[in-house]
């Protein structure tokens, strides 16, 4: 394919992706014209509070939205030079698990409780390669070892309920990297785990990334995690990208008030007693989402009157650092409002 032709072509390019839920006969966008790119071998963090469309976005890329629970209304997803939003289910299946794989937030429920670990890992191999049972078994043991499971020979014959949460997430990772995908989408892979295990899993992700030279989209609400392993960061709020930058620049100089507030709420391991900053209010539900103006306006400490009238756009404020806020000139559009 063209990957050899042009290294600079991004691995994944998302353009104006729009995913909506139908409530009472009306569409409400959960992902609202989101565009970004992911380069090969890079780790991109996507942060934001719960309910701001991160997961829906990642599922939209995979076309894994559950039936009746969301529709992709528009936009393009170009993976490896190929527009995958228009692929049939069958063609998509050839990509899922092989070129793009995904791990999920809940290791407890993401594994099928009635099949052995071995079966579930081998399945992904069988899905994409013509491989004998024995080879698949050996391969899965190898994979389990590679994700740091020492008793891999036993674990292949065990069932998910016999493993701890961290173990299961390792299994998920093993499954995800089984076909050496080019892109791994990790949807809050550590949220459900306890802190020490979180760190191990993050380390593991980093390891497998470097070994396989994968790109990773790491979805999280934890900026600490982002700081630790990501190359780039996308901050999402209410279905939109409000800020996007490389990790260094973002942490040094968070521009969007939302980002700034998120940063304040990072717990610090050495200062447990300290009161954490928090953002007032919650993400508005889809139905209550303002159609005009900045969606963060009502929670924004720096809100200005025009914030509820003019819809900001995501624009480059300084090189490699994009933001969508009226505090920054670039975000002000000529027409002033944007109708969604």
């Amino acid at each position: 394919m063209n990957k050899d032709l042009d290294k600079k072509v991004p691995l994944l390019e998302v353009r104006d992706l729009e995913t909506a839920f139908k409530i009472d006969g009306q569409y409400h966008n959960a992902v609202d014209k989101v565009s970004f790119t992911v380069d090969r071998g890079k780790i991109v963090g996507v942060v934001g509070e719960s309910g701001c469309g991160k997961s829906v976005m990642s599922l939209s890329i995979m076309k894994l939205l559950p039936k009746g629970a969301g529709e992709i209304l528009g936009g393009e997803v170009i993976f490896d030079g190929k527009n995958i939003e228009h692929l049939s289910e069958k063609e998509m299946n050839k990509i899922r698990g092989k070129d793009i794989s995904m791990i999920f937030q809940e290791p407890m429920t993401s594994l099928n409780p009635v099949f052995t670990i071995g079966y579930q890992i081998e399945e992904v191999l069988h899905n994409h390669f013509n491989i004998s049972k024995q080879d698949a078994r050996n391969q899965s043991i190898k994979l389990l070892k590679s994700v740091g499971i020492s008793r891999a020979e036993q674990v292949v014959n065990e069932y998910p309920h016999q493993l701890s949460g961290g173990m299961r997430q390792r299994v998920m990772i093993a499954m995800a990297i089984a076909c050496q995908p080019k892109l791994l989408i990790a949807d809050e892979p550590t949220t459900a785990l306890d802190v020490t295990v979180q760190a191990q899993i993050l380390d593991l992700l980093k390891d497998v990334q470097s070994v396989n030279d994968m790109a990773i989209i790491l979805i999280t609400h934890d900026l600490g995690v982002v700081a630790e392993i990501c190359d780039e960061v996308i901050v999402m709020y209410a279905g939109e990208i409000v800020e996007r930058s490389d990790v260094r620049s973002l942490f040094k100089n968070p521009k969007h008030p939302y980002t700034q507030q998120l940063m304040n709420s990072i717990p610090k391991l050495d200062a447990e007693e300290e009161k954490l900053g928090s953002i007032k209010g919650i993400v508005p539900s889809l139905k209550e989402m303002p159609r005009v103006g900045c969606k963060f306006a009502n929670r924004c400490p720096k809100a200005m009157p025009e914030c509820t009238e003019i819809t900001p756009v995501l624009a480059e404020d300084e090189k490699g650092h994009e933001v969508s806020c009226l505090l920054f000139e670039a975000s002000k559009t000529e027409e002033g409002t944007k109708i969604t």
């Binding site: 894994l64 299946n93 899922r96 698990g97």
Partner: protein, 321 residues
């Protein structure tokens, strides 16, 4: 597993004991004299009757009578039918194969239909196909089996002539030949469907709902993310999970079959245990009645046990020890 099974079987003993006491009490409470069948009905001489009552132990204290009955019962001596004049065990052995055949066929049909319809509807919820199956189910749940049975005979036997209206086999066929078995299946199919109607409807509905629920589970998303084809997701990942709770129904199935066979066999003149039971109640054939009641209770216990064991086998999360 073995230990568990043994423990459960041991646990059944007190239960069976209690049931046997109840059965015995019920038999004593039934109108008429439970053992009068043993007494020569020609002889109305009161002296003779008294003598026979003494001989048969009917004048003993109740606990002694119970002790005698249960001792014989445990040793496999269920007494002699007062109506058929033959040992109850022989009588039951004569009818049992028919009922087992009916039950097994009914179960097979139930599960095949329930799986076919439940999987179809579960995969395509809220489509016309699903609604059609749903409608069928609601009627299956609502139509009492005797109405369905009588309708079936009139429609399929008398109007269309597709199925026989009575019996378990064409008597003229040589036992054991292919035709014989075909004839047996031909005779059993409609009663079996009628018998399984309620279960079919409820299992279909259950399976459909469970499949829909399971299809929203995280592990299904995982399987999709792995690139597993839709068909395999439904037929392997979801189904395997949805089947597990169905297994527990197997215990109920036995109860349903026992209860249902009574009505179905009567309507289809299918000579099995259910018909025997009904006639033993109406004819006050106490030895048969008591044995069958005990047997049914035992079957129910056994059904629950089998269901529990199967559950342990099928669901890796359950450990039986």
């Amino acid at each position: 597993m073995l230990k568990y099974t043994l423990r459960r079987i041991l646990g059944m003993i007190p239960m069976l004991f209690l049931i046997s006491v109840v059965v015995f009490t019920l038999a004593l409470a039934m109108p008429g004299d439970p053992f009068s069948g043993e007494i020569d009905p020609n002889n109305t001489d009161p002296e003779y009757i008294e003598e026979m009552r003494e001989k048969l132990g009917l004048n003993d204290p109740i606990h002694v009578q119970y002790g005698r009955w249960i001792t014989n019962f445990v040793q496999g001596d269920f007494g002699k039918s007062t109506r058929y004049k033959m040992p109850v065990s022989d009588l039951i052995a004569e009818r049992m194969p028919n009922t087992i055949f009916l039950g097994v066929t009914s179960l097979a049909i139930t599960y095949i239909l329930a799986f076919a319809m439940g999987m179809y509807a579960g995969r395509r919820p809220y489509t016309p196909g699903d609604h059609f199956i749903g409608g069928f189910n609601y009627f299956g749940l609502a139509i009492p089996s005797y109405i369905a049975g009588v309708f079936a005979i009139y429609l399929f036997s008398f109007q269309l002539g597709w199925i026989p209206f009575q019996g378990s086999v064409d008597i003229t066929l040589e036992k054991g030949t292919l035709d014989y078995w075909i004839s047996k299946i031909h005779h059993v199919i409609t009663p079996a469907i009628v018998l399984g109607l309620l279960s079919t409807a409820s299992y279909t509905q259950f399976l459909r709902n469970d499949i829909i629920e399971n299809s929203r589970k995280d592990f299904v998303r995982t399987a999709r993310a792995k690139g597993t084809p839709e068909r395999k997701i439904y037929n392997v990942h979801i189904l395997r999970n949805s089947v597990i709770p169905l297994i527990t129904f197997l215990g109920f199935d036995i109860v349903t079959l026992v209860n249902g066979a009574i009505i179905t066999e009567a309507i289809f003149t299918y000579p099995g245990i259910g018909q025997l039971f009904l006639s033993s109640v109406t004819n006050q054939d106490y030895p048969v009645l008591m044995t069958l009641t005990m047997m049914f209770s035992f079957l129910v216990l056994l059904g629950n046990l089998i269901a529990d064991i199967l559950y342990g086998v099928v669901d890796p999360r359950i450990r039986l020890d």
